[in-house]
Amino acid sequence: MEKIKKRREGKVIFSEYTRGAGINKLKEFSREDVLFELKESGLKGRGGAGFPTATKWMLTAAAKSDKKFVICNADEGEPGTFKDRVLLTEYPELVFDGMVIAGYTIGAKLGIVYLRGEYEYLMKPLQDYLQVMKEDNLLGNNIAGVTGFDFDINIVMGSGAYVCGEETALIESLEGHRGEARNRPPFPVNTGYMGHPTTVNNVETLAAVSHIVIKGGNWFKKVGTDKSTGSKLLSISGDCNKPGVYEVPWGTTIQEVLKLVDAKDTKAVQVGGASGICLNKTQFDRTISYEDVATGGSIMIFNENRDMLHILKNFMEFFVEESCGQCTPCRIGNVKMLEGIEMIERNDYTFSYINKLKGLAETMKVASKCGLGQSSPNPFLSIIENFREEIFNGSHGGRNGK
């Protein structure tokens, strides 16, 4: 863990914040005040699905139950994503203050961080941090001197399963079951962890909340676009000179991102990780936003030397391995798509069969039970479409041209 805090630049998440400030603000801020500012901010979930955070919290707050829970989704399994690791390592105050604020607002006494097993090395520093919060009365009983404001945080580790980032699979895992997604409804806001109302939020969403409570919803929405308020942390990797985590306003174009990280000879940009879509040069003017190209933050850059079919195969191998196998479209569909890619690789395919696979991919999007199978066709469809010249006609130094 880095001891010296790096200075990062950003208008929202990486802007000034004093540890504990959001929690202390609650002395004068009612639950309704928090919900009001959140609604005003227009904050949407940063974990990928983009559900309005104010609505999620209102529903959990309104649900009747003797127990409620806050879960921080730190499973960060999407290939190409590492911004949650940076937040937890360098800005734990934002994330944990956000959890305490969530607990206060929805009426939960316990928060659980579901940390991916691959981040085991963060366990000790995070637990040490929580201990300091307790000593400073930012966690525990009568927080910030407010009688009856009790909240504690546990950290639970995953054990290497991508699907456990899906919120209902995550809850199953926490309850001691295989990480198999649940049917919805009911939603976690009503029937979540141990059957109690639960709000599940991404690390970055919670970090944004801490700022919003201090600086207001209006301040937050000054950045970004009308429909995508605030900023987004991007985890940028691949063929560029300055990979890393960057904070950009929503509405930034792919072209601007490429410039930011000094990427040259870019052929393709995969936005949203393995489950995202792949853009070609003609699409680099598109914007990163909920209304255009949405993303949980993964941006992978590929230059002219990369083989698109190889990239696609790598993604599909990932999904074949990570599908929980519960439902047929996803369990079988991913295997069929991978086989199709291998047929193209061997030059042993027909266009009519590829078209059938495209149809299968569309079916998976609607018929799969959870987000994994609903989104795993994305790279297949977008790479086959956006790079069909290279893949099928081999004119760009692609595999058939070699």
Binding site: G77, E78, P79, E118, M157, A161, G176, Q270, M300
Partner: protein, 158 residues
Amino acid sequence: MLVEEKNAVTEEIENLVKTYGSERSALMPILQEIQKKHRHISDYAQQEVARLLDIHPVEVFSFISFYSFLNTEPKGKNIIRICRTIVCDTKNKSAVVAAIERELGIKVGETTKDKKFTLEYANCIGMCDQGPAMAVNDRVYTKVTPEKAIAILSEVRG
């Protein structure tokens, strides 16, 4: 298994149940602790966990089989995981894998005869901006080259 060994395992699991509780939600941390100490979860350990948490042994087995970091067969003392996801792949992870395979005389998925090392692939471990990435147990190494990988292994071997 000898009777003394069995008793030791039982005692260990009883202690874990004291720490994590006997609710089913304690299953994950309990199994993780056993895995960490013994590098696998034996049949007997599974039975004991099942008994103490009052669930069926098959459920414990089914749980273990779902999670890639938990296993029922012993692995090496040190587990090497190389990221096989696309960004590390394009940063020449294959050369690193080949060097380790040569040096240890095993293939990915295998364990060395002296049980010191198991070599595996991992999916993205969140170090994509500094690939190729490799983890040995819970330590992560970045910008790994074939040479650096072998130096790390000698260091780990001690």
